[in-house]
Amino acid sequence: MKTDTTHEKLSIVCFSGDYDKLLAAFTMATGAAATNRQVTMFFTFWGLNALKRIHGRRALGRTPMARLFNWLMGGLRNLPLSRLNFAGLSPRLMERMMRRNNVATLQELIQAARELGVRLVACEMAMHILELERGDLVEGVEDIVGVATFLNESRDAHIIFI
C-alpha cells in the first residue's frame, strides 16, 4: 500500500533527560524525517540537557540554585538510564553494546536529526527557570519558543510526549 507522507507532521515533546528515552525520541524523529515527514522536537525541563553545548557538567546560570541544578544535571555525557543506571555506568555499557550491534548511539542520532532537518526547539519557560541562554545550547537549536508557538506549529501533527 502506498501512502503519501509528504504532509505528515510529527512533533515530539522531549521532557525526559534519560538516555534511553531520548534515544527513543531521536529514533522516532530520524525515522520519521528520513521517510519524508516534517519533524519538530520540543525540549523542555530535563530534556534540555541533551541540547547543552557543553556535554559534561557545568554550573550554568546566574543564581546559586540554578548553577547547582545545572551542574547536577550535566549534559549529554551525564544522561542516566531510566532504569538500572548504576551511578552512570550503564549508559556507557549500553553504548558499547549498541556499537557492537551496529545500532546508532544517541550522539549519532542527534547528528543525523540535524542533517535531516529535524526542527529542534527549546522551551522558553524551562530555559528561564534553569537560567539557560541560547549560547548554552548547541547551534542546531533553531528557536526558543513557548507552548503556544509549539502547538500552533504542531497543528495537524501527531504529538508524542517522551
Binding site: K2, T3, D4, T5, T6, T27, T30, G31, A33, A34, T35, N36, N101, N102, V103, A104, E108, L109, A112, E115, L116
Partner: protein, 73 residues
C-alpha cells in the same frame, strides 16, 4: 554519476537515514545502488524512496538474503 551504499550492517532508523542523506547530496538524474537486507529495509526503503518522488528502477536479490536496489533521483 553512480553512487553506492551498503546498509546491510545498519539497523533502523539508520537504514532510512543513510539512504535519505545520500540521495539528498546527489544531483537530479544521478543513480544510487543500495545493497540491503530482506525484511524491514527491503519492504520500506524502496517504498519510502518512491514516496519522496525518486524512481526505483529495479529491485533484485543478490544472495544471502540481500537485495540490490537501483534508485534514480
Amino acid at each position: 554519476m553512480k553512487h553506492f551504499l551498503d546498509i546491510t550492517r545498519e539497523t533502523c532508523p539508520m537504514t532510512f537515514v543513510k539512504v535519505k542523506l545520500t540521495l539528498s547530496r546527489m544531483e537530479k538524474g544521478e543513480e544510487l545502488e543500495v545493497i540491503l537486507n530482506e525484511g524491514e529495509p527491503l519492504q520500506n526503503v524502496p517504498r519510502s524512496c518512491e514516496e519522496q518522488g525518486y524512481t526505483v528502477i529495479s529491485v533484485e536479490p543478490c544472495g544471502e538474503g540481500r537485495h540490490r536496489v537501483w534508485i534514480r533521483k
